[in-house]
């Protein structure tokens, strides 16, 4: 036993004793003890500097004459905090009444409805009616204002929490947003009216607690109460950001950042945010394809599998190219394909396909927030399995002319230039990517499968399927099973 450690200081929140670290605010201590659900807030966001201006998070601290903002008040040992006292409730009701006085209350036409802090908190804490008799303040020129191609501002709904301003000041440091004028005329504008330019704009819509700033890609696409958030990973680059895939009936409508302090904090980039469209793309190949009379035609597994096995067993020189966007599990599994091959050369390479990225050594951060150069999710994973990279330009070595190439990818990795006389795609492709192939085995996208990626920092991150597979696309396991069944059957029948 070591000497007795000094007792950790504690505060009491609604009767529960909660430890804190020096410097923690009441909000932080409450968050750590999972008690922050009792403290409403608008301007506070754990990923942003404290502003302390919305005054919604005030709590009663014994011996303090005034209510204290829990977001900014540091804990002191023995502090006794009440988050649900009458005084606190009256204050919250007051804030809600003030914030709603000039709010348009246009919930039926507001896309934030259902996930709006103003709605939720007013239901919980606010007055049921309003005494506001005056004409509402409106910004006639900013009712539907384009802040950029990605963001729409409705200033009438703004509650002036300034999370967006602090986001551009402190996270992206691009300083595009600012408040113009003063007091009740205070208006959110982009500096010099040049619009928002950063690559992280979607986060601004995420953190806007009301419907003032909405993300155009999702705006009016779906009422949020139909959506179910599923945890998954963004596979848009080697960072491996945690996201929520919001789906209904196995269709994904948006990605939102999912907090992971080790990787992405509270944020994701815009290209990652819209990357789910790759899987929702109507041109995605979700049925097996086979080339017949020089035309790729949709077929079924029963037809494709024997043809594919035949090609495998006929070829003398085969190359399997594994995209660096496949999961570790898929990479390991697909290597068993070799056992279907008879006496042929069977080369395996991994291929990244991002311009300028050959191996993980070429990868680097491309800004100070999250984004990385490598546009695939698992280059380090491929390397960890000891695979060798395909030559830099995506061509087979001059000496090795293959008669069968199989390109396996999750939808992000590049497709090499023609490596063999017969080519099969396996995984996630869109129509325009497969025209030169002799067949396609439709596979699963990240959101449809479980597995793990090793991100640029070397962290192995596991994830589970968020939605069901589309069409006839199937997992590597199932496809391999099918191929083995076919091979065995044909061997039994003595085919070939």
């Amino acid at each position: 036993m070591t000497a007795e450690a000094p007792a950790q200081p504690t505060i009491t929140i609604d009767g529960r004793v909660v430890p804190f670290l020096p410097g923690d605010t009441i909000m932080k201590a409450a968050e750590k003890a999972a008690l922050d659900g009792t403290i409403p807030r608008f301007c506070y966001h754990p990923g942003l500097p404290v502003a302390g201006t919305c005054r919604m998070c005030t709590v009663e601290v014994e011996k303090a004459p005034k209510l204290m903002t829990s977001c900014s008040t540091p804990c002191t040992d023995g502090m006794i905090v009440h988050t649900q006292s009458d005084k606190v409730k009256k204050s919250r009701e007051g804030v809600m009444e003030f914030l709603l006085a000039n709010h348009p209350l246009d919930c039926p036409v507001c896309d934030q409805a259902g996930e709006c802090s103003l709605q939720n908190y007013n239901y919980e804490y606010g007055p049921r009616t309003s005494e506001f008799q005056e004409q509402k303040r409106t910004w006639s020129k900013s009712t539907t204002k384009k802040l950029s191609d990605k963001l729409t501002l409705n200033m009438n709904r703004c509650i002036h929490c300034e999370r967006c301003v602090r986001f551009t000041d402190d996270v992206t440091k691009t300083h595009e947003l600012t408040m113009l004028n003063r007091g009740w005329k205070k208006e959110l504008v982009s500096a010099e009216d040049l619009g928002v330019v950063s690559e992280y704009q979607g986060n601004i819509a995420d953190i806007c607690p009301v419907g003032a700033i909405t993300f155009n890609d999702f705006r009016f696409q779906k009422r949020v109460w139909f959506l179910k958030p599923r945890p998954t990973l963004c596979d848009g680059c080697s960072k491996g950001c945690a996201v929520w895939a919001d789906e209904e009936k196995d269709t994904i409508y948006r990605y939102r950042a999912r907090r992971n302090d080790e990787v992405n904090g509270h944020w994701i980039c815009d290209s990652g945010r819209v990357s789910f469209h790759t899987y929702e793309n109507p041109n995605r190949i979700v049925e097996p394809l086979l080339k017949v009379n020089n035309h790729l035609i949709a077929t079924n597994w029963e037809t494709l599998a024997p043809s594919f096995v035949k090609e495998l067993q006929r070829a003398a020189r085969i190359i399997l190219v594994i995209g660096t966007d496949a999961t570790l599990e898929e990479m390991k599994e697909i290597l068993t394909l070799k056992s279907l091959v008879r006496n042929a050369v069977f080369d395996v390479r991994f291929y990244n396909g991002t311009s300028g990225v050959h191996t993980s050594a070429d990868d680097k951060a491309i800004d100070d927030v999250l984004r990385r150069l490598d546009q695939t999710s698992n280059t380090k994973g491929a390397e960890s399995l000891g695979l060798t990279p395909l030559s830099q330009n995506g061509q087979g070595s001059a000496s090795s002319a293959y008669d069968l190439a199989i390109y396996f990818r999750g939808g992000r990795a590049g497709i090499p230039l023609k490596l063999a006389t017969k080519e099969f795609g396996w995984g996630v492709f869109s129509k325009d990517e497969v025209q030169r192939f002799d067949g396609v085995l439709p596979g699963l996208a990240t959101v449809e499968k479980s597995g793990s990626y090793i991100n640029a920092a070397g962290n192995t991150q596991k994830f589970v399927a968020a939605v069901k597979a589309k069409g006839s696309s199937a997992s590597v396991t199932r496809i391999l099973e099918g191929l083995f069944v076919v091979a065995r059957r044909e061997a039994d029948l003595g085919v070939n």
Partner: protein
């Protein structure tokens, strides 16, 4: 009449020049004496004088100075500079004393700041002047040049090895920049919005350094205390509020103006000192300490003008702006006008203040124009209770000053507006001048 510390009975010509200040007003003698003392001794002298800040809050000046850290250090161990700021952003409606001091005695301010800089160990100072004070800035600039030229500022001041750099910073026209942390933000080139406290400016002030902010009149008062000792100053006024202060008397008095009087004078005496209510009319109400101070009714004027007595009377000494209103004044109109000011000047960061000041202004406007409802009076009280004490700075409290006091003390006038459907003191169709174009532009 008692001793004067800030002004002279008869105006001295060219008192703004260094030569006249030196020859006729014992200029820089206070600094000279202060520089013979240690820092702690100077602070002690100010503490003994019972000087309380003249900006509005009335905080004991000596104590404020003693809050400044002695040897602040950066995390790497190197010494942190300390800064001194003069709040000359005189914007409180009804207040015009700092303007007089800047006009007539700019060197006294410089001297007072140099003394304070010595006391707290500040190396650099700024005078944050209200932007509209153009003439005052011209005078102050000239005075600074003179002071630098004669060695009262800059390196090795008065040969005593004390360095202090002082410069002027012009505000851009926001009332809230008179709040010390909004002032510091503005000084740093940021939006003039009050900061969350703690940290207080004594720890993290201008540009992140320990900073002391005092009012013009406070600095000017320090000069006499250091020159002649604290006793004479403490003797005047009350036990807890030493000295004289400048009262800015405006409104319906015979002789409006700036008066230097001891702090223990009563409001009644102050009004008679100014020649009484204009044209012999009856007094209706007085705002005793600038627009933010709750109004007093005519029956409540037997109160001493020091900080504690006025606080006990439910109002405040504030900035010393005394606004006298006679029986012809419509209190609803006066309060509505004040609230229009607050609506315009709220910085807008805190929810209650931004929305509440706006709501109250329009509510009062509606009542004044005869469209009020009895229910509105309850709404006023409720809104005020949800604003006061709930925000980062005291602005929201200031808004409730005129709103609540007018309603509480002159409720009958509000009711007359509501039941009569118009202002009882105005002719039919007559509008208060400041409402002619107001509130017709709700769409921004």
């Amino acid at each position: 009449m008692s001793e004067l510390f800030l002004t002279t009975k008869d105006q001295i010509a060219d008192s703004h020049t260094l030569s006249v200040y030196r020859s006729k007003l014992q200029g820089y003698a206070g600094l000279e004496r202060a520089l013979t003392m240690t820092r702690d001794e100077v602070v002690d002298q100010v503490k003994k004088s019972n000087l309380r800040g003249r900006g509005g809050a009335g905080f004991p000046t000596g104590m404020k100075w003693s809050f400044m850290p002695k040897e602040p250090k950066h995390p790497d161990g190197s010494p942190k500079p300390k800064y001194l700021v003069c709040n000359a952003d005189e914007g409180e409606p009804g207040t015009f004393k700092d303007r007089l001091l800047l006009n007539r005695y700019p060197h006294r301010l410089i001297e007072g700041m140099a003394i304070a800089a010595h006391a707290i160990g500040a190396s650099r100072g700024w005078i944050y002047v209200r932007g509209e004070f153009y003439q005052e800035i011209v005078i102050l600039k000239k005075a600074l040049e003179e002071a630098y030229a004669q060695g009262f500022l800059g390196k090795n001041i008065m040969g005593k090895g004390f360095d202090f750099e002082l410069s002027i910073y012009r505000g851009a026209g926001a009332y809230i920049c008179g709040e010390e942390t909004a002032l510091l933000n503005s000084l740093e080139g940021k939006r003039g919005e009050p900061r969350l406290k703690p940290p207080f400016p004594a720890m993290v002030g201008a540009f992140g350094m320990p900073t002391c902010v005092n009012n013009v009149e406070t600095f000017c008062s320090v000069v006499g205390i250091l020159r002649d000792g604290p006793e004479a100053f403490a003797k005047v006024g009350t036990e807890r509020s030493g000295g004289t202060r400048l009262f800015c008397v405006s409104g319906h008095v015979e002789k409006p103006g700036v008066y230097e009087l001891p702090l223990n004078i009563t409001l009644r005496d102050l009004i008679s000192h100014c020649g009484g209510v204009k044209d012999g009319k009856k007094l209706k109400a007085v705002i005793p300490g600038g627009a933010s101070a709750p109004m007093l009714s005519a029956e409540e004027i037997d109160v001493a003008m020091d900080f504690d007595s006025l606080m006990k009377a439910g109002t405040m000494a504030g900035s010393g702006g005394v606004i006298v209103m006679d029986e012809t004044v419509c209190i609803v109109e006066a309060a509505a006008r004040l609230l229009k000011f607050y609506e315009h000047e709220s910085c807008g960061q805190c929810s209650q203040c931004r929305e509440g000041s706006h709501w109250l202004a329009r509510l009062f406007h509606r009542i004044e124009t005869g469209h009020g409802d009895t229910k509105d009076l309850d709404t006023i009280a409720r809104l005020c209770s949800n604003m006061a004490g709930q925000t980062i700075c005291a602005f929201a409290d200031a808004v409730t000053g005129p709103a609540l006091s007018s309603l509480k003390k002159f409720r009958k006038e509000f009711e007359a507006h509501i039941t009569g459907g118009c202002c009882p003191l105005k002719k039919p169709g007559q509008k208060a001048p400041h409402f002619l174009e107001h509130h017709d532009h709700v769409a921004l």
